[in-house]
Amino acid sequence: MSEHFIESENLCYSYRVGNGKEDVPALKGITLTVEKGEYVAILGHNGSGKSTFAKLLNQILEPTSGKLIVGGTDLSGGELSDEEILSLRRRVGMVFQNPDNQLVATIVEDDVAFGPENLGVPQPELRKRVDDALLTVGMQDYAAQEPHRLSGGQKQRVAIAGILAMRPECIVLDEATAMLDPAGRREVLDTVRMLNRQDGITVLNITHYMNEAALADRVIVIHDGKLLLQGTPDEVFARRDLLRQVGLEVPQCSELIHRLRAERIPLEGDRISDPDGCADMICRAFGMKDREEKSHG
């Protein structure tokens, strides 16, 4: 079996509107692959089709045409059995935008248990999974709390714990940080990064925040239902003008490098997605060699 976790070829999806008379295409032929254990950001504007792509991954929506294989299961043929769909949804966990609308139970630990309960995980395994998941996201002290007393970031971490308790292979964040404050966003992203690094969980972060995309191993830009660009954050942010054409702004540090280069200041290097990388480039250009020592001293 290949090491691809997600493999899509010419994937299309159209929404039916007006009693099925009219088709509104959301995805117009997406071809991409995501490797096992990879951390990928999918960038795109509202209405670019990025959320539709997410919903196709665990059969909330079915592809209109094209090929889609997720974790070895072919989703393009339609007609999956209930067991296959359940197994797919167990392996591909989703965290949505609004933290309030994905917590089911009135107590944190009951909510985390919701997924494994549905899967029929027996005791004492169930208890262990819930405790482990809460510990992993650092919410063990809130196990007996009511969700409405938590902050946005904490709620999203509980939502992630709910997915971890199902022992997934992949976590899809569908704009999961869009409604959070900067501190909450940091909490969630740190958690996800750790899961990716330590447990080898494949992460797909669907977002329109450039700074979040910069944290990924690879960035995929979707525009108007088509794949526009893909590559490492450095490669993608080097294409500032193309991104700007589709209404996306590169992170501030990359923007600074682009502008300095436009002023013909010779900056060498390509780590433009990372503020530290940018700072080093600027230091080198101005002959300051001791930035490293200063910042560590």
Binding site: R89, N101, F114
Partner: protein, 283 residues
């Protein structure tokens, strides 16, 4: 954040709080049977004593219990008056007063001793009923524990195609979203106030109309939430109640069984006490 108290639940650590909610449901049913079986002074005395014991056992402040009865005072007065004036017995306490009514007839008031007894018993019965059930159910059991208990107690009904699990799940979700929707209502009201909406002045109809611009966005957002929640639940492998396990399994303990047996004995005791005809027996 605003703390939202569901119902009357009073958090405390008592024997009754720790009981299995299923046992509490059964106990309160038995308690209701008991109060309706009571017919004479001795059995009513015993029931009152039992109700007081419950209050003490549950460690709920007495003033809270009394406060929960306050809304019923009117009903209590009304039923007791009807009993006093309408019961016909053998021991007449008053000379018969005849009051001429404006439309020509006369109304003769006769108060019998039986009427007074009946009134007193009715008041006690409502009192005991209310204290007993609220101690077992609303004061010491969280709504969510209650939902769990009812789901399990009624699970045999699944055989006759009553969607017990679905109803319980809907109740759980409704309870979960009460604080969320309250918060949202407040937000919408503040947003409307900031744009000059007035929710406090004017008569009832004007105020009700002013709430319309709050209710419509609330309703729309509730539908959106429902849709998103359904998707999220599907993503978490929700597939109806089939084959689900539970994190918290309710366990009927020895003390719960003992309490139920004790109350059954009490019911039987009351049943026989009524036959003795002590002091006064209600018909």
């Amino acid at each position: 954040m605003k703390s939202v108290v569901f119902g009357q639940y009073y958090p405390a650590d008592s024997f009754i709080h720790r009981m299995d909610p299923r046992a509490k449901v059964i106990l309160s049913v038995l308690f209701i049977v008991c109060t309706f079986l009571c017919r004479n002074a001795v059995s009513f005395f015993l029931m009152t004593a039992a109700a007081l014991c419950l209050v003490l056992l549950s460690r709920i402040p007495v003033h809270l219990v009394l406060r929960s009865i306050r809304p019923l005072i009117l009903i209590l007065i009304f039923t007791s008056l009807i009993n006093v004036f309408m019961t016909k017995g053998e021991m007449l306490l008053t000379p018969s007063w005849n009051i001429p009514l404006p439309w020509g007839k006369t109304w003769s008031i006769r108060i019998y001793a039986e009427g007074l007894w009946n009134a007193a018993f009715m008041i006690l019965r409502i009192f005991i009923l209310l204290i007993g059930t609220s101690i077992f159910l609303s004061f010491t059991t969280t709504p969510i524990a209650m939902t769990d208990a009812l789901e399990q107690l009624f699970s045999p009904l699944k055989k006759i195609k009553i969607p017990v699990h679905d109803i319980a799940m809907m109740t759980t979700i409704a309870l979960r979203f009460i604080p969320t929707l309250l918060e949202e209502t407040e937000k919408i009201m503040n947003a409307q106030k900031a744009r000059g909406a007035d929710f406090i002045s004017g008569g009832l109809i004007k105020r009700a109309k002013a709430l319309l611009p709050v209710l419509i966005p609330l309703l729309i957002s509730a539908f959106n939430r429902a849709y998103e929640l359904a998707t999220a639940m599907e993503c978490r492998c929700y597939n109806g109640g089939e084959g689900r396990t539970r994190l918290k399994v309710l366990q009927l303990r020895f003390s719960d069984v003992l309490a139920i047996l004790f109350l059954i004995a009490f019911v039987v005791g009351i049943f026989f006490l009524n036959r003795l005809g002590l002091i006064y027996t209600m018909k």
